[in-house]
């Protein structure tokens, strides 16, 4: 049961995980991205994610379709709004007949999501606000 969605509430990791366990597949790989306190010397207090939602879901679906076309199951959920330390921002899960494919495709999905999906972070760091992705 493939699922691709942007949400503005906490991600229900347990339900999404369970939705990826199928009798016909033997391996599930899941990536969780959560809000990290330190990036080198920079201390983050919270992150606000915004999105161009309709386009973001389309772009996520394009990525999911690549994996679905190989006969695997996919869940991609990204949360937007104000997130605190430890909150899960993104859940990517791939269920596959064999584990190597699950790992490979899960990693591809998160790597590509970071390149193509219109979601932006505004990072409230202790020293200042940083806009993710911008070269300064």
């Amino acid at each position: 049961m493939s699922l691709v969605k942007i949400v503005d509430k906490p991600i229900d990791v347990d339900t999404l995980t369970k939705s990826l366990i199928h009798n016909e597949f033997g391996g599930v790989d899941i990536f969780l991205g959560n809000i990290r306190q330190y990036t080198d010397d920079i201390e983050t207090e919270k992150i606000e994610y915004t999105t161009y939602k309709s386009m973001a879901e389309k772009e996520m679906q394009k990525l999911a379709d690549i994996v679905l076309a190989k006969g695997m199951d996919v869940v991609m959920v990204h949360r937007v709004g104000e997130l605190q330390l430890g909150d899960v921002a993104v859940f990517i899960g791939v269920s596959a007949p064999h584990r190597a494919e699950a790992f490979e495709n899960c990693q591809m999905l998160i790597d590509q999501l970071k390149h193509t999906v219109p979601i932006w972070k505004k990072e409230y760091d202790k020293d200042k606000i940083r806009w993710g992705g911008l070269e300064e």
Binding site: Y52, S54, M55, V117, P118, W120
Partner: protein, 79 residues
């Protein structure tokens, strides 16, 4: 035409910006027009892409009558 803005551009300029567009134009034309109105954000606009009808565009010529929606996409940073 009302162009959608996001992220730092939306916060600084507003959620949309109104531009008069010719019958055909390119993504680059749009970015240049916004830069001329808001030279302070030239740097962000130079790193931004343009989406037409929720699809990324590159150098192609865009015909105004095919356009439902235009958005400026600063560098994305999800995940």
């Amino acid at each position: 035409m009302r162009i959608k803005l996001f992220s730092v551009l939306a916060e600084k300029i507003g959620p949309t910006i109104e531009l008069d567009l010719p019958e055909t134009f390119t993504a680059q034309n749009i970015l240049e027009r916004i830069k001329s109105l808001h030279p302070d954000y030239e740097d962000v606009l130079d790193q931004s892409l343009v989406a037409v009808n929720e699809e990324y565009t590159n150098d192609e010529k865009i015909s105004l009558e095919s356009v439902d929606e235009i958005a400026i996409i600063p560098p994305v940073s999800g995940g």
